[in-house]
């Protein structure tokens, strides 16, 4: 369960202020956040993951109030509960596929890289059809393959919440669908809450819920909002 209440956020020296009175996302749901560039979609992911702190209001994820935590606690919380997928894949160029999938274990002292973790990474690679390319570097992979590796990296720590920022933004139409299906499939298998930020309206089928930042409305499935508390998003401060 993700709960956001009376949220206010503003970047230093920026005029734009994000305001969000309330947003609740149930566990295990697949939620798409749509809207044009600059309306605060990525900022919302940063607030949920604890990378950014709100000026006011609270962000509660998996029962813990992220916005009230110290820097170190938020980092540990992020390691344990959040998996992230980026538009540009952001794979590390000097690491091979397997090492990229296992990257969270290399850079976080709180995570232990056991033989089981390695086996899980290989299973993931097999599931996404890259078992034969474990020793390849990102530059030797297609864009679709790179994003698949990035998804595995996000899921390898078995987080409760997966945040994907424009995961299909750099992919061709055929790959877009395949990647989304893959994310859905893997998230469903681990009962993970999935929040996908996108401005691509063509990929919204399959989500449990769509949050439209521009129209400031929340909808369940393809229908208009029902039950969600409207928020004032994207107002000028």
């Amino acid at each position: 369960m993700i709960q956001i209440e009376n949220l206010k956020f503003q970047y230093p020296r920026a005029e734009f202020m994000l305001r969000l009175p309330r947003l609740d996302i149930e566990s295990g749901k697949r939620v798409a956040i749509v809207g044009p560039s600059g309306c605060g979609k990525t900022t919302l992911l940063n607030l949920i993951s604890g990378i950014a702190l709100p000026l006011a209001g609270s962000v509660t994820v998996c029962g813990e109030e992220v916005s009230a935590m110290s820097d170190a606690s938020r980092r540990n919380f992020r390691i344990a509960n959040i998996g992230m997928v980026f538009q540009q894949f952001e794979l590390v160029e000097y690491l091979d596929v397997l090492s990229n999938i296992l990257l969270p274990f290399s850079i976080n002292a709180t995570l232990t890289r056991s033989p089981e973790v390695r086996s899980r990474a290989i299973e993931f690679a097999e599931a996404i059809g890259l078992k034969e390319k474990l020793t390849r570097r990102p530059a030797q992979l297609s864009q679709g393959e790179q994003q698949r590796v990035a998804i595995c990296r996000a899921l390898i720590t078995e987080p409760g919440v997966v945040l994907a920022d424009e995961p299909t933004g750099n992919l061709d139409p055929e790959n877009k669908r395949r990647i989304l299906d893959l994310i859905f499939q893997l998230a469903e298998k681990q009962n993970q809450t999935l929040i996908v930020v996108t401005h691509d309206m063509g990929i919204l089928s399959g989500f449990d819920r769509v949050v439209d930042f521009q129209k400031m409305r929340f909808s369940d499935g393809a229908e208009e909002s029902a039950g969600a508390v409207p928020g004032s998003i994207g107002e000028q401060a």
């Binding site: 993951s49 990378i51 170190a72 980092r75 540990n76 992020r78 390691i79 959040i82 992230m84 980026f86 540009q88 952001e90 590390v92 160029e93 000097y94 690491l95 090492s99 990257l103 969270p104 274990f105 290399s106 850079i107 976080n108 002292a109 890289r113 990296r153």
Partner: protein, 396 residues
């Protein structure tokens, strides 16, 4: 930390060219001053040790440095010789022991040192193979000479001519190798030792020729041919080799006391005796000087160290410039890798770990560079002994 170090190692391996250039920059900037430092240190150790083991030297007045270099390193500088009689004078009625040195010639480019057997005890030199020189024409070669010329006991080496264009000059003399010294890692390894009298024979002060009466009884030294031209008797031919058969025919013309030596190693029995001896030389009007090699060499090293100080300052400037360039490279690299670092941070990596990653990468590059510097320094250390010896012995 091992995960971070592992990542750092893989980054360094992936960017081989960049890492290699950085390693080379550090190695080249570091190895040069280190190598010079080692060379100067070795030079100082060797030259001072040799000088310190030689209390005092008597020789012709002139450059004390040339005299010391000639006596300690057998450098064939143009120095005036002194008469052999000075050896007795240097003994100063029992105040000191005196060992004559005659270092004017070379054999196969290595200095021929005429001396007495006392020299070997004085320098604690041991004959590794064969024996000491016992008769005229014998020589004992240093270990390096034997190794480089591939000579051993029973072989012969020939003294070099003064001047190959001077047909009337001194003929070379074949020297019989009767012994090879054990390695001492001193200039003695690079010299050919002969008895003082053999050195005088090389100089032409002594010679041998066949017994005219025995070889050609009744014949005059010069005979006239039928055409009226004068022809030398074959018995007049001088020997260029001293053998058991002809050794008795060798003789010297003139007074031995007036024969030349280039330096005399003087070892007084005590400080008091040495001071008395020095006083005698300083107060006399003779053309002879009394020098303490250690003082002369320390003066030389003072100049060397002053030059070295300039070199050190230069090395510091170059090192500083290189360090600044390295910092620039790292900063540019950080800028290029900003997104990579940001991604790591988003994946839960702490800022401290990201700094450690950078430190680890630079640490690996510095570590590899230092390994090369150490290997290079070890190599320099290993060869510098020979280089310094070579520099000190006739500039080889």
């Amino acid at each position: 930390m091992s995960g971070t170090l592992g990542l750092a190692w893989r980054y360094v391996l992936f960017h081989k060219a960049k890492s290699l250039i950085l390693v080379l920059c550090i190695v080249l900037t570091t190895i040069l001053p280190v190598a010079v430092k080692l060379l100067v240190w070795q030079f100082d150790q060797k030259i001072v040790a040799r000088a310190a083991s030689t209390p005092s030297i008597v020789g012709a007045k002139g450059s004390s440095l040339d005299l010391v270099l000639s006596a300690l390193y057998f450098k064939q500088e143009v120095i005036e010789p002194v008469a052999y009689a000075e050896v007795e004078r240097a003994r100063g009625d029992g105040l000191a022991s005196a060992i004559p040195l005659h270092c004017m010639f070379a054999a196969m480019d290595y200095p021929v040192v005429g001396t007495s057997l006392e020299y070997f005890d004085y320098r604690e030199l041991k004959v590794g193979a064969g024996t000491q020189f016992v008769s005229l024409g014998d020589c004992v070669v240093g270990q390096k000479v034997a190794e480089i010329l591939s000579v051993n006991v029973g072989d012969q080496i020939i003294s070099d001519r003064d001047n190959v264009l001077d047909l009337a000059g001194q003929s070379p003399l074949k020297l019989n190798v009767v012994g090879v010294l054990e390695a001492s890692r001193t200039p003695d390894d690079w010299a050919v030792f002969v008895d003082l009298k053999t050195a005088w024979v090389i100089q032409g002060l002594g010679h041998g020729h066949q017994d005219l009466n025995k070889e050609a009884p009744g014949s005059p030294v010069l005979i006239a041919s039928e055409s009226g031209r004068l022809i030398a008797n074959r018995g007049v031919v001088s020997y260029i080799e001293i053998t058991d058969e002809n050794v008795d025919s060798f003789h010297f013309h003139g007074e031995t006391d007036e024969f030349p030596v280039t330096a005399i190693l003087v070892s007084a029995s005590g400080f008091k005796e040495e001071t008395i001896l020095q006083g005698r030389y300083e107060s006399s009007d003779s053309e002879v000087q009394f020098v303490r090699p250690e003082i002369v060499v320390r003066d030389l090293m003072t100049i060397v160290f002053q030059v070295n100080r300039f070199f050190n300052a230069n090395a510091i400037l170059i090192g500083g410039s290189t360090a600044m360039l390295l910092v620039l490279v790292v900063l540019l690299s950080l800028r290029l890798r900003k997104r990579e670092m940001e991604t790591m941070f988003r994946l839960g990596c702490s800022r401290g770990t990201i700094v450690w990653l950078q430190v680890g990468e630079m640490g690996i590059i510095f570590g590899v560079a230092m390994v090369f510097v150490m290997l290079g320094s070890a190599w320099v250390w290993w060869v510098s002994g020979n280089i310094v010896e070579g520099l000190l012995v006739n500039g080889r």
